[in-house]
C-alpha cells in the first residue's frame, strides 16, 4: 500500500519486521524472566544456597546485615520488600499453605501478632534466641522474636519549650500547647500502636480526651512523615512533635550539615519515665520463620544471626535503633540518651487494642 498515511513510522516496508521483532523480542525476554523465576523457586528445594525473606523494611543497614550473614555462612538472602504492611500480611496469609518464602521481617508488633495468630509462623525453639532476647521482646509462645526496637519520643524546640512542660504523652493535650503540636497522620501504624498502649493503660475516655486535646493543639493538619515534623520544628511551624527515636538520631548523625543544623535546635524527652508511669512507648521489628519452609535450619541460623552481637551492632549503628540484646553497646548518638525505661507490658497488648484506638482517634478528628 503506497498510502503512507497508515504507516506513519519508518516507511511501510520496515514496519512489519520491526513489529515482529519487537514481539519476538518480548517473548524472548519473557523466557529468561520466567526461567529466572523458576530457578528461584527451584532453589528453594536446594536449601543450602539461599533464603527468601519478606520484609517491610527498606534500610541500607539491613542489606549490610544480610551481606554479613552471607559472608559468614555462604547462604544468600533474597528479599521482597513490601513496604505496605497490610499488603505484606495479606500476601503471607494468602500463601499460608504454600509459602513462597522462608522468613518474614516486619516493623510492628501488631503485624507480628496478626501473622502469628493466623498460624503462619513455626515456633523458633532456639536457645540462642531465648538467651539473647529478653522475654518481653519475644512472642510469649515463641513464634517470633524482636530484633531491633524503637521508642516514640517527644521532640521539642529547645529555645521555646522546657522539657518539664512535656513529661508525658498525655501532657501533649494541655492547653498551653495550643497550635504548637506537630504529628503525622493518625492512621500511621506508629501512632496507632502508641494509641493502643495508651488505651490499654488509661481507658477509652481518657484516650478520647487526649486525642481531642491533641487535635486542638495541632499546628497544622497532620501531614508528612516523622522527619517532616522535625524539619517543621526547625522551620518554626510548631514547637513540639511526636516522633520515633531513630529519625531524630539519623538527623543528628547525618553527614549533611543541614540535617545536623536542624537536629541542633531540637531536644528530646522520653515521656512517662516517672516511677509510677508505664515507660516510653516501645515497638519492635521482629522476624519469624514461616511454617512449611524447606530451609528451616538455615532460617533458624539467620534468626540467630540477627540477634548476634554483630548484627545487633549493625542495626544500632545503621538505622539507629535500640538493639534487643542488652549487652550490646548503644550507638554513640543514642548513648547520650541512654536506655530509657520502656513500656514492655504495652508491647503485648498492641494488636488487641489497636482497632478501638484507631476508631477513637478518627472520631476525635485527628485525621
Amino acid at each position: 500500500m503506497e498510502d503512507k498515511r497508515f504507516w506513519p513510522f519508518v516507511g511501510g516496508a520496515l514496519a512489519r519486521p520491526i513489529a515482529l521483532s519487537l514481539g519476538l523480542g518480548m517473548m524472548g525476554f519473557m523466557g529468561p524472566l520466567s526461567a529466572a523465576q523458576a530457578a528461584g523457586s527451584s532453589a528453594a528445594s536446594n536449601p543450602t544456597r539461599e533464603l527468601k525473606l519478606y520484609t517491610t523494611r527498606h534500610y541500607a543497614g539491613d542489606q549490610r546485615v544480610n551481606d554479613e550473614f552471607t559472608k559468614a555462612t555462604g547462604i544468600v538472602v533474597k528479599t521482597v520488600s513490601i513496604k505496605d504492611a497490610s499488603a505484606l500480611v495479606a500476601r503471607v496469609i494468602a500463601e499460608k499453605d504454600r509459602p513462597a518464602a522462608d522468613l518474614v521481617v516486619t516493623t510492628d508488633t501488631g503485624n507480628l501478632f496478626r501473622l502469628a495468630d493466623a498460624g503462619v509462623f513455626q515456633t523458633l525453639d532456639s536457645g540462642v534466641v531465648n538467651a539473647a532476647v529478653p522475654v518481653d521482646f519475644r512472642d510469649p509462645q515463641g513464634r517470633w522474636t524482636g530484633v531491633a526496637m524503637r521508642v516514640r519520643v517527644i521532640a521539642y524546640n529547645k529555645s521555646k519549650i522546657k522539657p518539664e512542660q512535656i513529661p508525658t504523652i498525655e501532657s501533649l493535650a494541655q492547653p498551653e500547647l495550643k497550635g504548637r503540636l506537630l504529628v503525622r497522620p493518625s492512621h500511621h501504624v506508629y501512632n496507632q500502636s502508641l494509641a493502643a498502649t495508651l488505651l490499654a493503660d488509661v481507658g477509652p475516655d481518657r484516650l478520647k480526651a487526649w486525642a481531642q486535646g491533641v487535635t486542638v493543639n495541632l499546628a497544622r493538619k497532620p501531614q508528612g512523615g516523622d522527619t517532616d515534623q522535625l524539619k517543621a520544628i526547625a522551620a518554626g511551624e510548631g514547637d513540639v512533635a511526636i516522633v520515633n527515636s531513630y529519625y531524630l538520631a539519623r538527623l543528628m548523625d547525618s553527614e549533611d550539615p543541614k540535617d545536623r543544623a536542624i537536629a541542633d535546635k531540637i531536644g528530646v524527652v522520653f515521656p512517662d519515665q516517672g516511677p509510677q508511669q508505664r515507660g516510653v512507648h516501645v515497638n519492635v521489628s521482629g522476624v519469624g520463620i514461616l511454617k512449611g519452609t524447606p530451609a528451616a535450619a538455615e532460617a533458624r541460623a539467620y534468626v540467630e544471626f540477627l540477634v548476634s552481637p554483630l548484627a545487633q551492632q549493625l542495626f544500632a549503628s545503621a538505622s539507629k535503633e535500640y538493639p534487643v540484646r542488652e549487652d550490646v553497646p548503644l550507638d554513640r548518638t543514642l548513648r547520650d540518651w541512654q536506655r530509657p525505661r520502656m513500656d514492655r507490658k504495652g508491647l503485648r497488648v498492641i494488636s488487641a487494642y489497636t482497632p478501638e484506638a484507631v476508631r477513637i482517634l478518627d472520631e476525635a478528628g485527628w485525621r
Binding site: F6, F29, M30, S81, A90, P185, R359
Partner: protein, 575 residues
C-alpha cells in the same frame, strides 16, 4: 446476511462462551473480593462490616475531598489545555511541533514523582508544609498532569473547525470574542467536555498524589479502611462505590463521544492562516503551553539531579542497581503490553461479534448511512456486559485489584509470580487498548474490506490482512501507552511480584516515601526519561489521533491526501 460482505461463520455457541469467560477473567479480582470479603453479607446486614471500620462521618469528609480535588483539577486542566490548544491552532507560533509535544508529554510522567519533588523542594525552600500540602497543590499537580487530555481533544476540535466559518462570522459582524463563543466553542464543546470528564475520572482514581499531599479523598479512605482498620468488607464496598462513580462518568463520556461521532474524523481541511501576534504575546503563549511540562518534568529532573550531585550520604542502597531495575521495569512493561494488546484485540473482536446479527465484523450502517455506534444488548448481552465490566478495571484502585488477584491466584499456586502480576496489568489496562481500538475499527472503510472479499480473501483473511493494517498504529500506540502505565504502576507490582523482580517505581516509592529523595534520584530520573521517550514514540506512531501529529506537517492542499483518479498522485503510470 443482508448487506454485509464479511461474516465470520463462527458458531453461535462459542462466541458468548468465550466472551463470558474473558469477561469473567477480567472481572475476577473484584468478584473474588466481593465473594470472599463477605460483601454479600454486608448487603444483608449493613452494620456488620462498618462496625470496625471507618466511621461513617468520615466518609463525608472523604467524599467532599474527592469532589473538591476533582472539580478544581478538572477546571484547571480544561482551561489550561483548552487555551493552549486554541492558541496553538489560531496563532502563528514558532516551533509548533515542539510545542505540541511539550503540551502532550506531561501525560507520561508518574504524578506521584512530581508530588514528591514538589513537596520536598518547596519545604526545603522554607515554605510551610501546611501550605504546600494543600488543595491548590493538588489542583496544580493533577490538573496540569492531565491537561494533555483536554489539549488533544481541543486541538482536534479547533483544527477541524473550518476557518471559513469564523471568517463568515466576522464578515457578518460578530466581534472576535463573540465569534469564538458562538462558533468555535459550540463546535468544540462536546469534545472538550468529554475530555474534561476523562480528567475527572482520572483524578477520582488517583491515589499517590493526594496521599502524599495529605488530603482526604475517597481513594485514601479506601486505603485507610484497608490499612488501618483491616476491614475487607468496607474496603470492597468503598472501592465498588468508586467504581460506580467512575463508571457513571465513563457512561457520560460515552454519550458525549456519541454526540461527537457525527463530526468528521480525519484531517483538517482549512488553510493554515494563523494570526500573527507580537513577540510579547508569543512569549506568553509559549510560556503557558510549556508550563505543564516545565513543572512536571523539567523541574523535578533538575531538582533530582541537584539532590543527587549534592548528596552527602554514601550509604549502600538496598536492592539492585538502577540499570538492573530499569531492565526489569522495561521488560515487565513490554511483556505486560504484549499481553494487554492480545487481550484487547480479543475483547474488541468478541464485542463486535456479539452485536446484533451475530457474527459481523463491520460497523452497521443506519438508514442515514452513518455509522451506528450504540452498543446493543441482545442475545449475547450478558457476555457483553461482562466484557464491558472488565473494561472498567481501570477505575478499580490498584491495591484492591491486587488483593483480589492474590486471593484468586494463591490457591492455584501462582500467588506471587509473573503470572499474577501480568494478569493484574491485563485487568487494569485492557481498556487503554480496547477502547481506542474499537473506535479505530469503526473507522475502517467498508469498501476496502468489500474489495478484499471480492478479490478472494476469506472473511478472517480480509480482517487480518486488510483491516488490521488500518488499526495497527492504534494498536502500537496503545501498546506503548500500556507500557508507560505499567512502568509507573505501584500497588499491584508491590503485592504480586515474585522474588528477584523489582521495578524503578517501587524503588522510588520506597525511598521517597521514607523521605530519602536524594537516594531515589537515579531511579526517578531513569523512569522520567523512559516515560518521556516512550510517549514521544507513541505520539510519533499516532497515539492520540494519528493526524494530530501529521497535521503539523500539513502545508496546504496536499494535506488532503491523495485524490483518487489522478494518475500522478496514485503513483500508477497507467493512462
Amino acid at each position: 446476511m443482508k448487506g454485509s460482505p464479511v461474516s465470520l461463520r463462527i458458531s453461535r455457541f462459542w462466541v458468548p462462551i468465550l466472551s463470558g469467560l474473558l469477561g469473567l477473567v477480567l472481572c475476577a479480582p473484584l468478584l473474588v473480593l466481593v465473594v470472599r470479603g463477605g460483601w454479600l453479607s454486608l448487603a444483608v446486614d449493613p452494620q456488620a462490616g462498618i462496625a470496625q471500620g471507618l466511621p461513617v462521618s468520615r466518609l463525608w469528609d472523604y467524599a467532599w475531598g474527592s469532589f473538591a480535588v476533582a472539580v478544581g483539577a478538572t477546571i484547571l486542566a480544561t482551561l489550561w489545555g483548552g487555551l493552549s490548544a486554541y492558541l496553538l491552532e489560531r496563532w502563528a507560533l514558532p516551533y509548533r511541533r515542539w510545542l505540541i509535544m511539550a503540551a502532550i508529554v506531561p501525560l507520561a510522567t508518574p504524578s506521584y514523582l512530581a508530588a514528591y519533588v514538589w513537596v520536598d523542594s518547596l519545604v526545603d525552600w522554607g515554605i510551610p508544609g501546611g501550605l504546600v500540602r494543600s488543595l491548590p497543590s493538588a489542583w496544580l499537580l493533577l490538573g496540569l498532569a492531565l491537561s494533555p487530555y483536554v489539549f488533544l481533544a481541543a486541538l482536534t476540535a479547533f483544527a477541524q473547525t473550518p476557518r471559513s466559518l469564523v471568517d463568515s462570522g466576522r464578515l457578518l459582524g460578530c466581534s472576535r470574542w463573540s465569534c469564538f463563543w458562538r462558533i468555535e466553542w459550540k463546535l468544540a464543546a462536546p469534545a472538550i467536555l468529554g475530555a474534561a470528564l476523562l480528567v475527572a475520572m482520572e483524578v477520582l482514581a488517583d491515589f499517590g498524589t493526594v496521599e502524599h499531599l495529605a488530603l482526604d479523598t475517597w481513594s485514601t479512605g479506601i486505603y485507610r479502611s484497608w490499612n488501618a482498620y483491616h476491614n475487607p468488607q468496607q474496603t470492597t464496598a468503598l472501592a465498588l462505590s468508586l467504581l460506580v462513580a467512575v463508571g457513571g462518568l465513563a457512561a457520560l463520556l460515552q454519550r458525549t463521544r456519541l454526540a461527537r461521532s457525527a463530526a468528521p474524523s480525519g484531517r483538517s481541511h482549512h488553510q493554515e492562516r494563523r494570526r500573527n501576534v507580537g513577540i510579547g504575546a508569543q512569549t506568553v503563549a509559549i510560556g503557558g503551553i510549556v508550563f505543564p511540562s516545565a513543572l512536571l518534568i523539567v523541574y523535578p529532573a533538575v531538582v533530582l539531579v541537584w539532590r543527587w550531585l549534592t548528596r552527602e550520604t554514601e550509604d549502600v542502597l538496598p536492592g539492585e542497581p538502577v540499570a538492573l531495575l530499569w531492565l526489569d521495569s522495561v521488560l515487565l512493561a513490554l511483556a505486560g503490553a504484549l499481553l494487554v494488546v492480545i487481550t484487547g484485540c480479543a475483547v474488541v473482536t468478541l464485542l463486535r461479534l456479539t452485536t446484533r446479527g451475530g457474527a459481523r465484523m463491520l460497523p452497521r450502517l443506519n438508514s442515514h448511512g452513518g455509522a451506528r455506534v450504540l452498543p446493543r444488548l441482545n442475545s449475547h448481552g450478558g457476555a457483553r456486559m461482562l466484557l464491558r465490566g472488565g473494561l472498567l478495571g481501570y477505575a478499580l484502585p490498584g491495591s484492591v485489584l491486587a488483593v483480589g488477584l492474590l486471593h484468586l491466584m494463591t490457591p492455584l499456586g501462582v500467588g506471587g509470580s509473573l503470572t499474577a502480576v501480568l494478569l493484574a496489568y491485563v485487568c487494569r489496562y485492557v481498556t487503554v487498548v480496547a477502547t481506542p481500538l474499537e473506535s479505530a475499527w469503526k473507522r475502517v472503510p467498508l469498501q476496502v474490506l468489500e474489495q478484499a472479499r471480492i478479490l478472494g480473501a476469506s472473511s478472517a483473511g480480509a480482517v487480518v490482512r486488510v483491516g488490521l493494517p488500518f488499526v495497527f498504529p492504534t494498536l502500537m500506540a496503545g501498546a506503548i501507552l500500556v507500557s508507560l502505565d505499567v512502568l509507573k504502576e505501584l500497588p499491584a507490582t508491590l503485592l504480586l511480584r515474585p522474588f528477584g523482580v523489582d521495578t524503578l517505581a517501587l524503588q522510588i516509592h520506597a525511598l521517597a516515601s521514607d523521605e530519602r529523595l536524594a537516594e531515589a534520584a537515579p531511579a526517578a530520573l531513569a523512569l522520567l526519561l523512559t516515560c518521556v521517550v516512550g510517549l514521544t514514540l507513541a505520539v510519533r506512531w499516532g497515539a492520540f489521533g494519528e493526524w494530530v501529529f501529521r497535521s503539523v506537517e500539513l502545508q496546504g492542499p496536499e494535506a488532503s491526501g491523495p485524490r483518487l483518479g489522478t494518475p500522478k498522485e496514485t503513483g500508477k503510470g497507467d493512462p
